[in-house]
């Protein structure tokens, strides 16, 4: 029987929330990939987006505000053969968890980060998130926003993410394709997922986005993939991605900005010191004999601390 990727819980987002589109795209993507559901974990931080794992019928870990990245990372460290997808809010990734977002770019663990980007903190009644432009006044704000916004795609590129894409929540098919590519990518993939918040962001609405978004691959010459392990090739593709990342306001590009699988994943870097890491991963490794005696013995492993004449 085909696995049903939906749980039977009532989905408690506001009607018209972009999260519905993201959830649908993710469920479709997982169905398309067809991996063993028990080998998949959907992680999240805190906020509306963070409820996503409960609605997907694979394992879920709904964690702490901003800490989705290290929680997701721990799963991969313990078992590098798991598929891990993190659904996080723009506040989660770019404000409270921004340090982790930067560090994850340097690690390149094989996992996927979907940033639910709607410019506001929904569950706490509409405060500005790091992606809301300065001067913008949504109905949840007492006064116009006095912070400048940051550019998630540009930030992701600058801290070393090896797959950087943008999608729009209400193009479910397009988003599904991008999520699938992101999950298949070897290394950390970031998807900046634009989504309206129908309750607190009356400016960046579904219609506002629909007027502006376009897919990069409409241009047949667009090629974001670093194909050979040469610095010139990586630099060319990187610069082109940075250039495109600056495009906003009138025209908003969607699709894959940059992909580089020439960079070793963190798991591969661990394997260099720990050759059996993938086949005898920490989670599966035997730690004792049947009678409970430990298999790790002091006199074998720590003989260098034995002092003798």
């Amino acid at each position: 029987m085909e696995h049903n990727y939906r749980t039977d819980l009532w989905v408690d987002w506001c009607p018209g929330c972009g999260d519905f589109g993201i959830l649908g795209a993710l469920q479709q993507s997982l169905a398309e990939l067809g991996e063993k559901p028990e080998n998949i974990v959907v992680a999240s931080g805190i906020g509306c987006s963070a409820k996503t794992p409960h609605y997907v019928n694979v394992s879920g870990i709904h964690t702490l505000h901003g800490r989705g990245i290290p929680f997701a990372t721990g799963i991969k460290l313990a078992n590098p053969n798991m598929t891990v997808i993190l659904d996080a809010g723009d506040g989660d990734m770019l404000s409270i968890g921004a340090g982790h977002f930067v560090a994850a770019g340097r690690r390149n663990i094989d996992m996927t980060i979907i940033i639910h980007n709607n410019g506001v903190y929904g569950l706490t009644k509409g405060q500005s998130s790091p992606t809301m432009p300065r001067g913008m006044k949504t109905k949840g704000l007492q006064r116009p926003n006095i912070y400048d916004s940051l550019n998630p795609v540009n930030l992701a590129l600058s801290v070393g993410y090896t797959f950087v894409a943008r999608a729009f929540a209400f193009d479910i098919k397009g988003s599904k394709d991008i999520i699938t590519r992101a999950i298949k990518h070897k290394g950390t993939a970031v998807v900046d997922m634009l989504q309206p918040c129908p309750t607190y962001n009356e400016i960046n609405t579904k219609e506002w986005y629909e007027k502006r978004v376009y897919y990069l691959n409409k241009d047949p010459t667009w090629d974001p993939v670093v194909k050979v392990p040469e610095p010139e090739e990586a630099e060319k593709k990187y610069k082109q991605a940075v250039d495109k990342s600056l495009e906003w306001e009138e025209k908003i590009p969607l699709g894959v900005f940059y992909q580089n699988e020439q960079v070793p994943s963190y798991e591969e870097r661990i394997r260099n010191n720990f050759p059996t890491y993938f086949t005898d991963s920490p989670s599966l490794s035997r730690i004792c004999n049947d009678d409970g005696t430990p298999v790790a013995r002091m006199e074998r492993i720590f003989a260098d601390r034995l002092i003798r004449k």
């Binding site: 028990e38 794992p53 394992s59 709904h62 721990g74 460290l77 313990a78 003798r308």
Partner: protein, 635 residues
């Protein structure tokens, strides 16, 4: 009575080889069959500031240090000033005579406040404000000065082309050991075991040892009592940090996360050097299998605990190590591990707080914080160890308990433990059986991570085995969010009940121990690295005819209330001994047992507590002179 019982301090600038000198001394005596225990004291600084190693050598069990010391070896100009008060009649003070005229004001590495205190003492004694003045001061107290030119001796040994400063530590250690009467054969072995067997290094050190021993032999002013030969055997010399690392690996550690912090980071650093190894698989033909531990330097402590938590939920024995500032950052995630019933272990090395406090100094002031860390009510275990054998065993047990009761375990330790050198014969594997969780055996689609059971412990599974959900929100048996009041009550009661189960399952000797006589005139109450000191104190008091006992508490949460109350109810004079300001263990006792302790022996200057000051404090309380004695030893 011991025939050999010597306290030594060797001091010099940080980065000037004091660590190597410490290793040489403790290894040399250990190789010679003597017992040794020592501790490193150092500033939060890489190069220049004063650091020293205090060690005690005995021919039988040694668990504590004493002031004044028998030998003071000064490798620089700062040491004689700083340790002026640590000597007594007949203390041998080894110093560099080329530095005799160095003025106190010229010792730029010394902090202004320290300088002021020393200046006051020198002025009061009518001594000049130079190294000479400090030496004169010590001489008046009966110290025997041993002047030596480090420069001349290094040149004599190695010629003019080797930098004398680089050999000061080996030379200082060698002369010290010659003064203590250790046969040069053992000194050479000790040096060899520290620096390895490279030919050039061996030759140089051979020459250094020779000039050191010649110097002492030909020095008419010193009479050395030669130490007798002991049976030598192979032994481990371990710091507390290393012991925890070893215990974790034996206990099945597979993933360790950390963010660099003193005094915890040495544990992870040591693990990084032992992260891929052969394991012994039992069977008809015992076989070896290669395996490893993943050690991850995270971007901060929040990431370290978060990675550890989800690693544990992916089936690996997972731990992190930190100190107060890092543990403060981990508090929210500890609560997450509590509500999600996650078997994660945190090794918490206390240091002087609050805030950055005294980053490299000792403290026991995080006990109540550890017990109460995290918001809301949730079960956690707080386990304390007092020496390396206990530390190794407890590191294994911490994992066992974490998995058996499915809750976070805080293994609380301190800087004194972390940076002490202990000599041990080996370990007892019979005390280190691995016990794992009650596993969900079936593979079905309806796994309930938080299934209600009689003992509150749900069958365990992990990511990669069954589909399950975790959330920091209150949840139902499947792990989905709920705010239903009845389910909330049942979940709270399920989780908290596990503490009762843990308390009833953990052996009493792992919770609290009463050492010494059952019926005593004075009862000492303490925990952690004070253990060895107070055991030595019991021996000392006994030898003077004082009937004393020592209530040593190991399990801080859940608390062994009945046992503790029973001991205290039947005690006469009770003294709480701790390295903090507020008597946190006494507070914990009052909170759990409703019993108030009235007498305190406290220390919070960050320096290691010594036998002499503890003894004086106990006597003062016994005489009724004081109810709260603050110990102030240590440079």
């Amino acid at each position: 009575m011991s025939n050999v019982d010597i306290d030594l301090i060797i001091g010099g600038p940080q980065g000037g080889g004091i660590d190597s000198a410490a290793q040489i001394i403790i290894r040399s005596f250990s190789i010679a069959g003597y017992e040794a225990y020592g501790i490193r004291e150092y500033h939060s600084n890489i190069k220049g500031r004063h650091s020293y190693f205090h060690v005690r050598i005995k021919d039988d069990l040694v668990r504590s240090l004493r002031y004044p010391v028998d030998v003071l070896a000064c490798l620089d100009a700062e040491t004689p000033f700083v340790h002026m008060n640590d000597i007594t009649e007949n203390t041998l003070v080894l110093f560099d005579q080329d530095l005799r005229n160095t003025k106190l004001a010229q010792v730029l590495t010394m902090e202004g406040e320290t300088k002021k205190h020393i200046e006051e003492r020198l002025v009061k004694e009518g001594c000049e404000l130079t190294v000479n003045g400090a030496l004169e001061c010590m001489k008046r107290s009966g110290a025997k000065l041993v002047p030596v030119s480090f420069r001349d001796l290094v040149i004599k040994a190695l010629g003019p082309n080797k930098p004398p400063a680089r050999y000061a530590n080996t030379l200082g250690a060698s002369i010290s050991m010659a003064l203590m009467g250790l046969d040069s054969e053992f000194t050479r072995s000790g040096i060899e075991s520290v620096f390895g067997k490279k030919k050039e290094v061996l030759e140089d050190n051979e020459k250094i040892v020779k000039v050191a021993y010649d110097f002492v032999e030909k020095n008419d002013g010193i009479s050395v009592k030669k130490l007798g030969a002991k049976v030598t055997k192979e032994r481990y010399i371990l710091t507390g940090n290393e012991a925890i690392a070893i215990g974790k690996v034996i206990g099945g550690l597979k993933l360790q996360t950390y963010y660099p912090i003193t005094p915890a980071a040495d544990e992870s650093f040591f693990l990084e050097g032992h992260d891929y190894f052969e394991e012994v698989i039992a069977g008809e033909n015992e076989s070896l299998s290669k395996s490893g531990v993943v050690i991850v330097q995270a971007e901060d402590e929040i990431a370290a605990i978060a990675m550890a938590i989800s690693g544990a939920m992916t089936g690996a024995r997972t731990a992190t190590g930190t100190s107060g500032p890092g543990f403060s950052l981990m508090a929210e995630a500890i609560g997450y591990a509590g509500i999600n019933e996650i078997p994660v272990v945190v090794s918490l090395y206390q240091r002087g707080g609050p805030s950055t406090g005294l980053p490299t100094r000792n403290s026991q002031a995080d006990l109540l914080f550890a017990v109460h860390a995290g918001h809301g009510d949730f079960p956690k275990l707080v386990l304390s160890s007092g020496d390396v054998n206990e530390g190794i065993e407890d590191a294994v047990k911490a994992f066992n308990y974490a998995e058996m009761f499915q809750m976070p375990v805080i293994h609380i330790l301190d800087k004194n433990f972390a940076n002490s050198f202990y000599v041990i014969d080996g370990i007892d594997y019979s005390k280190m059986k691995i016990k794992r969780w009650k596993l969900h055996e079936k593979n079905d689609e309806e796994y309930e991570r938080f299934k209600f059971t009689e003992d509150g412990i749900s069958p365990m599974s992990f990511f990669g085995k069954d589909i399950m959900w975790l959330t920091g929100d209150e949840h139902n048996e499947f792990g989905h969010i709920t705010e239903d009041p009845e389910t909330r009550d049942k979940m709270m009661e399920k989780r908290m009940h596990k503490l009762e189960v843990a308390k009833n399952t953990i052996p009493m000797e792992d919770q609290a121990i009463l050492f010494g006589e059952k019926d005593a005139d004075v009862t000492l109450v303490s925990w952690g690295s004070n253990k060895g000191l107070l055991l030595d104190m019991l021996d000392k008091l006994k030898s003077e005819g004082v009937r004393a006992n020592f209530l040593y508490i190991r399990l801080m949460a859940p608390f062994p209330s009945e046992f503790v109350l029973n001991v205290l109810k039947n005690s006469k004079l009770i003294i709480d001994v701790e390295s903090n300001y507020t008597g946190q263990l006494a507070q914990l006792i009052e909170q759990n047992c409703g019993f108030r302790i009235d007498n305190y022996l406290l220390k919070y200057n960050g320096r290691h507590q010594t036998l002499d000051e503890t003894y004086d404090g106990i006597k003062s309380i016994m005489k009724g002179e004081s109810k709260r004695v603050v110990l102030r030893n240590g440079a």
